[in-house]
Amino acid sequence: MIWNAWVLGLIIGQTATAAINAVAFANALRIVHNWDTRSTLPMQLDLEHRSELIATIVSCSLLFQVFSLMVFEITARSLAPFVPGAMCTVGILEAQPLGWPVLFIKMAALFLYGWWIVLNHLDNQVEGFLLTILKSWYLIALFPLIVIDLLLQIAFFTHLDPAVITSCCGVVFEVEGEGFGSSVASLSPKHTMLGLAGLLTVLLIFPLVLRRRSTQAGCIAYALGSAAGLVLGIAGVVAFVAPYVYMMPALHCPFIFLDEEHFNYGYLVYLPLFAASFLGTSVGILVAIERRFPFLAAVSHTIRMRFVWTSGLLWAAFLAAAYGPVIKFLIATGGTADLFQVGY
């Protein structure tokens, strides 16, 4: 077990989040049990009030989860010196089989909360509580994830053994090495660069097209494109953005550039990436809802068009942040040198 201020803060904050989510969970159960829009009994009014409470809680949870993800990364980084072999976040995540799962659960929770809020936003625009039951079930399904997040996180920190030797980003993201991280790092930088740029261009042009002729199919395509953008974006970060930020062709770590040492440049890359892909995928969710509840189509349409636009702008921001170091390098070297050329 390793114990320091960060771990303590993380566990306290996360417990607070789980606790308020438990309240939301209980209320969601009550809603799916007793919900009846035709009823004029006080209970129905009470349930309506409770759905308001759930909305408040989830909005706060989203905020907390953003913090939680960041703080988890920071905590892992701060623990790196105490575990032999660990140089950065990756080393700590590797030190324990629970490390990566906790990180991924946290990221998933972020998206799931976000989509819930999108649904809620849509539901609030239209009379008649069309989505309340759906939202409640959604929350009931989400709650175990939050609890698992908390428990895994506690288990992760209590079972982190400072005597176990771990491998760090140099090994995990080693070019030509073994494992998933290595295969991502081994992607040809040039091809990844071109592929990502291509996808991003498509994602940037899409909003313009959709603005003229918005179809549900088009929006679903955009959502799928955004999901692909997230995956390819992270692959791109590992394959070429990180090495260009560090100016080291062999260093593919997707975490170190979140440090103060690199002016927290990573946040500049990840924030637009996550926000853009979140809004993009939300468009797909909205379309799915529209198909199920045609009544909501008009309202949903305005919302999703706004999302498509914002997401387009965020993709542009991500494009700038991801290719900025590359362009800087090319300008500095006059466009002749190749960072990944052996011997440079």
Binding site: M1, I2, W3, D161, P162, A163
Partner: protein, 115 residues
Amino acid sequence: MIHAKVYGAVLVFLLLLLGATLMDSRVRGRSAARFEDLRAVSNVLPSADHGMDNSARYIRHWGLSTPGSAFPDYPGQPDYLPSGMMWPPPPFFVGSAPQDPLFPAAESTGEGAKR
């Protein structure tokens, strides 16, 4: 609207102060000692004495001068008086590296003998 504006000003002021502390920590944190100076001193400078059990242990440097930092009997013992702590340190503290032999000498010699 005046309240929001005044509070906005207060908030901006506080954020500026925070920014100033961040800047200050960057500037002072980096310029505390030149790298070469530090290396020159470190060449002759011993680290804190791991065997001493009087206050001299604490004067090397603030960084090395915590009651738990120097090693009275083995590295990592949190305090040189067993009763000096309110409660015992967690097991990892004693168990990780310090109490075991630093390098598994006996085992490796044994292996060598077998061979």
